[in-house]
């Protein structure tokens, strides 16, 4: 029974996540200096102070500097072959300045005393050039000064300390487990590891030093029909990327799951093609995290709402603010959505954001109503009236982020989670029992949403038909189309804590030049009534 397998797996994953925060395990296992930051901490502090001083002397009213070293390792395999093996490091610094309320940013890979001065001056000159067209100056919400902050991802095992042979052996073992299933023709698998040393200082006196780890094991199994007329794939979207160490590879149990991925890829070849129409949906959290990402997390980005991303990522249906904050019913009373950067092992979790703000946990949706939005220091002031009317502090939620030293920081989503059903531990069985004609979707697949986050369409990995309260055979060629407000208000029940799972991805794009973010969304299983399902098969 696939659903029970899934639940057992997600419970294991949840348990695994609950025990990762052992700070005592962190000391003494981090990489040696050969791969360490661009300079030792005292040198980085000196370089940072030099950059800030140069910016101030050149006329900046505010400045911050990030000095980063980013090491990543990737191993890609197919069947019994390693097709990619690399270990990469990039380091450098970026200086951001405010001159008369206009931003400037410049960056360089060459972290030396003379270069930080040149780049700081370049950032100031650029801000002056941009100021000519200024109509509304940038102001920053106040924040606490943190003179010496240190934070590390709560890893148990440094992934860079694990020998390459062991990693390759693991992937080959998982590939073999998948290839052992009749009908499977191809399997790709990979591991990706990141360590980022991020040193931050600003002209207000905040200095933070953070070490961030990310780990992402993946697998994709492809089955091809005997006559080459059809192929189907199953991706390991049940295994999320996490802000953890090598223990996440072990806990993810790719080897144990591989035969199921393989069997499902083969079953998809002969599954029944869906009849288009309206269905009730049970969305497992391995799938739902992506719908939350697109239809809750992105539309509640305040820079997007205010038009700053209109040329690429788009704007939002949430506008004007006074008609939505506290008034817009996103979903039913039991719907609570929290933004946070505090869950151990989630990808956005950090001690401070990329402008030195300690992140807060906050309700984006509270008891079904829109309650708050994602902010940086620049943006928090735009919500001043709303916060004051609610007797809340006017401060940034700490949602500033840049993908690297070479990119300017801006608003990026924290971990955004749909909370489980509050009153009791609703099971997936209970969600299914209430459905006459429906589909249960496992795993995230195709996704697309318009630039104001109304209309979206999602595929999945595995689709099961629900008939008269029971899960029956497999379907294929399924995609559902939604309009955001109707979809969440058509959620009539969601699962309890035992169905909760944290999904996520690398590569969430926003901004120009496009920057990539790593995202985590925790959620229970949910049930939605009367959703439009299309059939995606075509014959050519």
């Amino acid at each position: 029974m696939k659903r029970r397998d899934f639940l057992r797996h997600s419970a294991v994953a949840a348990a695994g996540l609950s025990v990762v925060g052992h700070p005592e395990a962190l000391h003494g296992i981090l990489s040696p200096a050969a791969y360490g930051p661009v300079a030792v901490r005292s040198d980085r502090r000196e370089l940072a102070m030099r950059a800030l001083e140069a910016a101030r002397s050149a006329g900046a009213d505010y400045a911050d500097v990030r000095i980063n070293t980013n090491r990543n390792q990737g191993i890609q395999t197919r069947e019994r072959r390693v097709i990619g093996l690399s270990d990469n490091v990039t380091s450098g610094f970026g200086v951001r300045v405010l001159v008369g309320g206009t931003w400037g940013f410049a960056a360089s890979s060459n972290a030396t005393g003379d270069e930080v001065v040149r780049v700081a001056r370049q950032a100031v000159a650029q801000a002056r050039a941009n100021r000519a067209a200024q109509r509304q100056p940038v102001e920053l919400a106040p924040t606490e000064v943190e003179p010496d902050g240190v934070w590390r991802s709560p890893i148990r095992t440094d992934p860079f300390e694990i020998p390459i042979e062991q990693k390759v052996e693991y992937l080959f073992g998982a590939n073999e487990a998948a290839m052992g299933v009749a009908g499977v023709r191809f399997v790709n698998s990979s591991m990706f590891f990141l360590r980022e040393d991020k040193f931050y200082a600003n002209s207000e006196g905040t200095v933070t030093d953070q070490t961030i780890f990310r780990t992402y094991p993946t697998m994709n199994v492809t089955a091809v029909s005997d006559d080459n007329s059809d192929f189907q794939s199953r991706s390991s979207t049940d295994i999320a990327p996490m802000g953890l160490g090598y223990e996440h590879v072990v806990d993810s149990d790719m080897m144990g799951l591989a035969p199921r991925f393989a069997e499902e890829a083969v079953q998809k070849l002969s599954a029944r093609s869906v009849d288009p129409g309206e269905y009730d949906l049970v969305l497992l959290p391995t799938h739902l995290w992506l719908t939350i990402h697109e239809a809750i997390a992105h539309p509640t980005e305040l820079d997007r709402i205010m038009g700053f991303e209109a040329n690429y990522a788009g704007t939002s249906f949430i506008y004007p603010l006074e008609e939505f904050l506290g008034r817009f019913r996103y979903g039913p009373d039991f719907m609570n959505v929290v933004g946070e950067r505090s869950t151990p092992g989630a990808l956005s979790t950090a001690g401070w954001d990329d402008e030195g703000v300690k992140p807060q946990d906050y309700h984006i949706v509270k008891d079904g109503f829109l309650n708050d939005l994602q902010t940086t220091r620049e943006q928090a002031l735009w919500l001043g009236d709303w916060y004051r009317s609610q007797n809340r502090e006017v401060r940034s939620h700490g949602n500033s982020y840049a993908q690297s030293w070479a990119d300017v920081q801006f608003q990026r989503m924290p971990n955004i989670n749909l909370e489980p059903f509050p009153d009791r531990d609703v099971s997936v069985d209970e969600l299914v029992e209430g459905i006459d004609r429906g589909i249960m979707i496992d795993g995230s697949g195709s996704f697309s949403i318009d630039q104001q986050r109304y209309n979206s369409q999602y595929g999945g990995q595995v689709f099961h038909e629900i008939r008269n309260g029971r899960v029956t055979g497999m379907l294929r060629d399924v995609a559902y189309q939604i309009r955001t407000p109707e979809f969440w208000n058509a959620m009539d029940l969601c699962g309890g804590p035992s169905t909760y799972f944290m999904g996520g991805a690398f590569g969430d794009a926003k901004g120009q030049p496009a920057q990539s973010n790593a995202i985590t969304h925790g959620c229970p299983a949910t049930r939605h009534r009367n959703v439009t399902v299309i059939n995606t098969a075509r014959s050519v």
Partner: protein, 451 residues
């Protein structure tokens, strides 16, 4: 590094020679990129953020027999060069043997694409970016509209060197500009944009004017019913779709049975006519309209390649291993492409349409079914109803589920090809030149309220 924007050929040669001299591997390849990037964003009729970035990256690939691995750094002091060589060698020694590794290439000859580099682009400063953007924001302010957009440029060098004596160094400069202009009441939105190699060729004021007119004309759109529509597609929309097919040209995936280009029963579709006989697509690093790098990251020459001729698949992308297995020449993969067009103007396409839609561009295009190259996405920033040969009013955006294969089988009219901004994020993508098309039976599946 601080004194010059990116590495000269002499400096690149000095570094790659040093790396190769440090190598103890049987084979070694060095890939070096060095560039200066600049960008300015604007929103709400003023500059929002901008950046000027100087960076170089060095990747060393080492092989002992068939054991291969690579390592990248962006530090160029001698300790860092030694470290990156040792890391790639340490990894390679531990890697399992790769039966498909063919060693590194010796000296090659390349097409001459020196012309893709322009001083005008390399010398672009933030002040000039700001002045150019003001030509858009001022128009928007005059018309009570809200302008946003992005101007980005890169000038730099790409270099490949191998232990077998290959050395290749190429220069490239690119600029991309896009703008989205919205009405203050939020009911209209217009877009325009393009890419060039030479900054002097870019007329930002004219692009701004197109987006302004689209924004004004797109106010208060009405509903139309989803379904199959005749569409007049501006070149950007055509490029958005054809790109999806161009990304699926892997010979190996086709031969392995997991591609649209797989032939039933085995093999691939080379030689088969699969789309309208008027479709011709080629790549050519020497063609000034689609300049691209003259070599790929293996150091293999990118040469003129006809992918589709008169609707027939002529070539797929073969890497060195797959080419050897199949007794073919490796193709390289020139990153830009050119789709030939016809003599019909956009106005003639509209005039000939009894009932159809005019499409500006597409958004959030994602794969739905790789077997048929079926993708989904939405129209955006300028969607209009055509009735009895005229544009009658703006319409709400629509979600489509469609494949470029169907689209290129349903061509009614073709116009003159132009260069477009081909990437969704308006970054520095390879040169793409495509014609506007009139196409029948384009499949829309739902309406979007997004503007």
């Amino acid at each position: 590094m601080a004194d010059q924007p990116f590495m000269s050929e002499e400096e690149a040669r000095r570094i790659t020679d040093r790396v190769l001299s440090l190598s103890q591997a049987d084979h070694c390849r060095v890939n070096l990129t060095s560039a200066m990037d600049g960008n300015t964003r604007f929103a709400r009729n003023q500059m929002s953020t901008s950046g000027d970035i100087t960076n170089s990256n060095l990747t060393v690939t080492s092989a002992f027999g068939q054991r291969v691995a690579s390592s990248t750094t962006n530090r160029f002091d001698d300790d860092s060069l030694q470290q990156v060589v040792r890391t790639s060698e340490d990894l390679a020694r531990l890697a399992p043997e790769d039966p498909e590794y063919l060693g590194e290439l010796g000296s090659q000859s390349y097409p001459d694409t020196r012309g893709s580099y322009y001083d005008s682009t390399a010398e672009l400063e933030p002040e000039e970016r700001a002045r150019a953007i003001a030509r858009v924001t001022e128009q928007a302010v005059t018309e009570d509209l809200i302008s946003t957009g992005f101007l980005v440029h890169r000038s730099g060098a790409t270099c490949v060197a191998t232990s077998e004596g290959l050395f290749a160094y190429g220069l490239d400069s690119r600029v991309n500009f896009t703008t989205t202009i919205r009405t203050e009441d939020g009911t209209g939105s217009g877009w325009s944009g393009t890419s060039v190699n030479d900054w002097n060729e870019l007329n930002i004021g004219e692009l701004g004017s197109i987006a302004v007119q689209k924004a004004i004309r797109s106010r208060e759109p009405r509903d139309v019913e989803p379904g199959r529509w005749t569409v007049v597609m501006e070149p950007t929309a055509v490029g958005n779709m054809v790109n999806l097919m161009m990304n699926q040209l892997s010979a190996r995936a086709a031969d392995e049975g997991r591609s649209f280009f797989s032939a039933p029963g085995g093999g691939n579709k080379i030689g088969e006519q699969f789309i309208d006989s008027r479709v011709n697509i080629h790549s050519d690093p020497e063609d000034p309209s689609i300049y691209s790098t003259p070599f790929n990251n293996m150091g293999l020459a990118n040469r003129r390649t006809i992918w589709i001729q008169d609707g027939t698949l002529r070539e797929l992308n073969y890497d060195r291993y797959w080419a050897e297995q199949n007794n073919r020449e490796p193709t390289g993969f020139p990153s830009g492409w050119y789709m030939a067009g016809g003599n019909d103007t956009l106005e003639e396409m509209i005039a000939s349409t009894e009932r159809g839609l005019l499409l500006t561009r597409f958004w959030y295009i994602r794969s739905v079914d790789p077997r048929t190259i079926l993708f989904t996405g939405l129209t955006r920033d300028g969607t209009f109803l055509i009735e009895n040969g005229r544009i009658t009013h703006p319409v709400k955006n629509l979600r489509w589920n469609e494949t470029p294969i169907f689209m290129l089988n349903n061509i009614e009219m073709m116009g003159a090809p132009v260069r477009i901004s081909s990437g969704e994020s308006a970054g520095l993508t390879p040169a793409v030149v495509v014609p506007p098309l009139k196409v029948r039976d384009f499949s829309f599946t739902s309406i979007s309220d997004a503007i």
